[in-house]
């Protein structure tokens, strides 16, 4: 896939995916200022620890959503495989 077609594929959702990617940063870097507390305990963990664990899991969920929405993955699968696959 040439860079040009890739760019035109990415354009419609160009901003959406990076914005989704920014969510975990917001949750962890910003969230820690509000979540720095012991109570309530969740799953036996102090709240701050639970909050971080929650965002680690949500990072994975976010990236799964990004992967599904990324048009590059649907098209690039075949192109990648052809260009880079079996030697």
């Amino acid at each position: 896939m040439s860079p040009d077609t890739e760019r035109s594929l990415a354009r419609p959702r160009g901003l959406l995916l990076p914005l989704l990617g920014a969510l975990p940063f917001l949750g962890i870097l910003g969230g820690v200022f509000f979540a720095n507390r012991m109570t309530p305990y969740v799953l036996g963990m102090p709240f701050i620890l639970f909050w971080i664990v929650l965002w680690v899991v949500l990072s994975s969920v976010t990236m799964a959503v990004v992967y599904r929405l990324d048009p590059g993955n649907r098209q690039a699968v075949d192109a990648d495989e052809l260009a880079e696959g079996t030697p």
Binding site: G21, P24, M38, Y41, G44, P46, I48, V53, N73, A76
Partner: protein, 498 residues
């Protein structure tokens, strides 16, 4: 003795896997260091996970949970953010590396900015940053071997044994060995850590929730971030810096070259954050050690996981835990050693001798392995820092390579090679000055609000880096433009000569 025998058996297994993986392949430099660029999702996954789950995860994270409490949670947070970034970052790096058949991280900068000198600078910064990281692995191995000998081997003897094992292992196998040992290591570490993290809190406190309640009652405030010092501002800035620096480690950067295609990275960005949750169990084990083996101070906190293991279990199980720990040092340690040796040979030596053949460079890279190991061993002997502090120092250095990387990615040239080089030098110099004088942001800039004072000093170095990078880029571009305008007839002639 039983514990040491179990550890030795696993060491032999690791060397055996390394030798097997090598069989039937010609060991060119590309084969030795990037596996011929043919690794799929699973292999790249274990390889990248292989350098992420180091002895630092095992002993450093539990040690910080034991000694520092709440601030240790940063270790759980930063890698997830790095994986999010990797979704966009790694495919761009990989494509360029494949197109130009690059081997090291320094190659990337040298080619992007068309400057072998910049490549050599990046290689040097990478090697300097890797030394504390390598020292960390060796120190970890020393702790494991000496604890598992129940005090029969001194930490220094244990360190030497560990270093010899690592050096021999790297020389024999290269990256193929690392990938296979990674598979064994990951299975073991997963089993051991999850077991310890569940069993120890139940055994000593009756459950995870009960354990946290007891610690909170004994040390109020220990499990959250303090208002000053390692405050939320420190936490956020440290997590951000570490996330930016994550893929800038020379061995991680070049391990990404070994992928078969870009989808490997995008898929791994989904799975790797979950894999990170292993750390949670490491924390649980470290916190349980507060109740079971109290009183370890300073860098001795790193001993807490093994102390509680020795106290709780039979020698054969101690051996199993030790073996898992040894593998977590061996795999990343071998990648670190290999990457620094290859960097020095390929980027620094090539700069001095551009006509050197690939064979000479490959031979030199192998010859440099014991040299780098010996240097790290020297530093390890003079230890005293906790494992986390060693890692933070390495991260502060390696993160200085991030701005130049970021601005090199767009097709339009945003910065010049002089700007990139000057920014890196200024950033690294700031880190060195701050580390040597033992400064904090608060000491450098008194009178600021507490939250600004608590910022990780790496943030200042990064700011200095960015300012110098742009100032020098603008300046060099202006000079080039003026020269072009002053002598229009000479410029095309010079250009065509290139």
């Amino acid at each position: 003795m039983t514990a040491l025998m179990v550890i030795a058996a696993f060491l032999v297994l690791a060397v055996f896997l390394g030798l097997r993986a090598r069989r039937g392949r010609q060991m060119t430099l590309e084969q030795w260091s990037v596996g011929g660029r043919g690794f799929g999702s699973v292999f790249v996954f274990v390889l990248l996970a292989g350098d992420i789950y180091t002895t630092f995860t095992f002993l450093g994270a539990s040690g910080w949970a034991y000694g520092q409490g709440g601030p240790a949670f940063y270790i759980l947070a930063y890698a997830s953010l790095a994986y999010v970034l990797s979704y966009w970052l790694l495919p761009a790096i990989w494509r360029y590396a494949k197109e130009h058949r690059l081997i090291t991280q320094a190659d990337f900068y040298a080619r992007k900015f068309d400057s072998p000198t910049l490549g050599a600078l990046v290689a040097l910064v990478g090697v300097v940053a890797m030394v504390p990281y390598l020292v960390l692995q060796l120190t970890g191995m020393g702790i494991i071997v000496s604890s598992a000998s129940y005090g029969h081997l001194s930490p220094h003897t244990a360190l030497v044994i560990g270093t010899l094992a690592l050096t021999g292992y790297v020389t024999v196998s290269g990256i193929h060995g690392s990938a296979w040992t990674s598979v064994v290591k990951d299975a073991m570490i997963l089993g051991v850590v999850v077991f310890l993290g569940v069993y120890l809190p139940v055994h000593y406190a009756g459950g995870i929730g009960a354990m946290f309640h007891r610690i909170d009652a004994a040390k109020p405030g220990f499990l959250t971030l303090p208002h000053s010092g390692q405050s939320p501002a420190w936490f956020a800035s440290t997590v951000l810096l570490s996330a930016l620096g994550f893929y800038l480690w020379p061995h991680t950067f070049s391990a990404s070259y070994s992928a078969k295609n870009t989808r490997v990275f995008r898929r791994n960005a989904i799975v790797l954050p979950l894999y990170q949750l292993i750390l949670l169990f490491v924390f649980f084990a470290g916190f349980a050690a507060i109740l079971a083996v109290p009183g370890l101070k300073g860098s001795d906190a790193d001993l807490s996981l093994l102390r509680i293991t020795v106290k709780t279990f039979n020698p054969w199980f101690v051996g199993l835990v030790g073996a898992a720990g040894l593998l977590t040092a061996l795999v990343p340690g071998s990648l670190l050693l290999m990457a620094s040796a290859t960097s020095l040979a390929d980027s620094v030596f090539r700069l001095a001798r551009p006509q050197a053949s690939d064979e000479t460079v490959a031979r030199l890279a192998k010859a440099l392995v014991p040299v780098v190991a010996a240097v790290a061993l020297l530093f390890a002997f003079n230890g005293g820092s906790t494992l986390v502090n060693l890692l933070l120092m390495g991260y502060a250095l390696v993160t200085q390579l991030f701005p130049a990387l970021l601005f090199s990615l767009p097709t339009r040239r945003l910065i010049t090679k002089q700007g990139a080089g000057a920014g890196i030098v200024a950033g690294v110099a700031t880190v060195a000055a701050v580390t040597l004088t033992n400064s904090t942001v608060g000491k450098l800039l008194p009178g600021l609000p507490q939250s600004v004072k608590d910022l990780n000093v790496g943030v200042i170095a990064l700011a200095v880096n960015l300012v110098v990078l742009f100032a020098v880029s603008v300046l060099t571009r202006a000079v080039t433009a003026r020269r072009a305008a002053a002598g229009p007839t000479t410029v095309p002639a010079a250009d065509s000569g290139r």
